[in-house]
Symmetry: C2
Subunit: 244 residues, 2 copies
């Protein structure tokens, strides 16, 4: 996560206009699905990997989490989090997830929303997260789905019958993908779903649940533009547990 | 698996010409990856769900498996298996996987190659397979990858730069997919990767490994037509264990 676009003021200003920046968790359509994977938060020590504006940190504190540590590599993000989502139980700190060290057996939940696809050495990070969790602790995260990140020419195409397709290529070729987004160039890691899942297993976790997110019928009724997300998977959600 | 196309003599004749039918396991490019997921077979009781021509059954017997039960819903398949891959340790039997019952705690390995995407009630089958395995027993299987099975108009498209793409649509809409293959119409179940994995977990298994198969560089060098399989995932492989 070096050369972080989230530290570019113009990119950051664009990011700040996204529904999930303005409305927080309720502006993220995958939030209800992620929330269903969480343990009850009251009394927990929580680690947020890539906390962004801090919406989840404040949510966890509001649910009674004992202590929440929100880490991000963007200083603009951290300043915004401190401004928008300060809470006595929450601490925000600068960290590069590629290298961050955590105190052993100190957290009950590690959470990450759409941040781990920026991390190059995922398995090494997950091994450090595993050690940072107490036995029985939970890992819950979302990443961009590899069907979404794979294409060398990302975009919808229209078939003769008017139906939309998402053309996939280079799926099996893992590595960097640079996309134009919010007027900037963002470098992500394209990683197979299987690579992500195996990294979780090899780090010592027991997998509890994996989910290729889809909008619910109620969400589509409320916001018909979400219907296109039935054509391709956009997010991969995962829950796992440190067994011992 | 009712109205089984594999019991149609003309479809079956076409199937018999496929490399994996003629050359057995060595004709299946995903076999080396699947084999790497298997425990040592010597002394094991093995259940093969959808045994087809019986190539795996005979392989397992050749590796010293104690007893191998190959099940298939196609009587033509079973006749061919008996003819091509008979072995004193192998028994072939007719069974509909949607309903088949197995003796409890009687097998050390349940194996299935490209058969479970024909099964509608996968989770119920996996629960019966879990009960049929001894504690510590292994489940290893392959299915068509959902990126491969999803499209309503399956086929490659060529971009302006000549690159091939595999257009995906209806990914999130699970259910039957009818495709034309070998001059017949074959009805498969399109199932998300996450649904398959969660079915394994809910049946009581601990997931060991999941793999979106890709041809190796050596396989592509030996057979350049395999290179297109770098563009999209074709097979999903999975290994799990009955913990207790």
């Amino acid at each position: 996560m070096t050369g972080n676009p989230y530290d570019d003021p113009s990119f950051f200003a664009g990011y700040a206009t996204l529904p999930r920046s303005v409305h927080g968790l309720d502006g993220a359509p995958e939030w209800p699905s992620l929330r269903a994977l969480l343990p009850p938060l009251a009394g927990l020590d929580v680690l947020d990997l890539g906390c962004g504006h801090g919406w989840f940190c404040r949510h966890a504190a509001g649910e009674g989490a004992r202590r929440v540590l929100g880490l991000d590599s963007s200083r603009l993000m951290l300043a915004r989090a401190q401004e928008a989502n300060a809470h006595p139980a929450v601490a925000y700190a600068h960290a590069d997830l590629e290298a961050a060290e955590f105190p052993p057996a100190s957290f009950d939940l590690a959470w990450s929303s759409l941040a781990l696809h920026y991390v190059e050495r995922l398995e090494a990070l997950l091994a450090r997260v595993h050690a940072a969790l107490r036995p029985g602790g939970a890992l819950v995260f979302s990443v961009e789905h590899p069907v979404y990140s794979a294409p060398s020419r990302p975009g919808w195409t229209k078939a003769a019958d008017g139906g939309l397709s998402w053309p996939v290529d280079r799926y099996m070729v893992e590595g960097p993908r640079v996309v134009e987004w919010l007027g900037g160039r963002v470098a992500k890691r394209h990683r197979l779903a299987s690579t992500t899942i195996n990294a979780v297993l090899r780090a010592g976790f027991a997998l509890s649940h994996v989910e290729e997110w889809r909008p619910s019928d109620a969400q589509i009724a409320a916001k018909p533009s979400l219907a296109v997300e039935l054509e391709r998977p956009m997010f991969l959600l995962l829950a796992a547990r440190r067994a011992s």
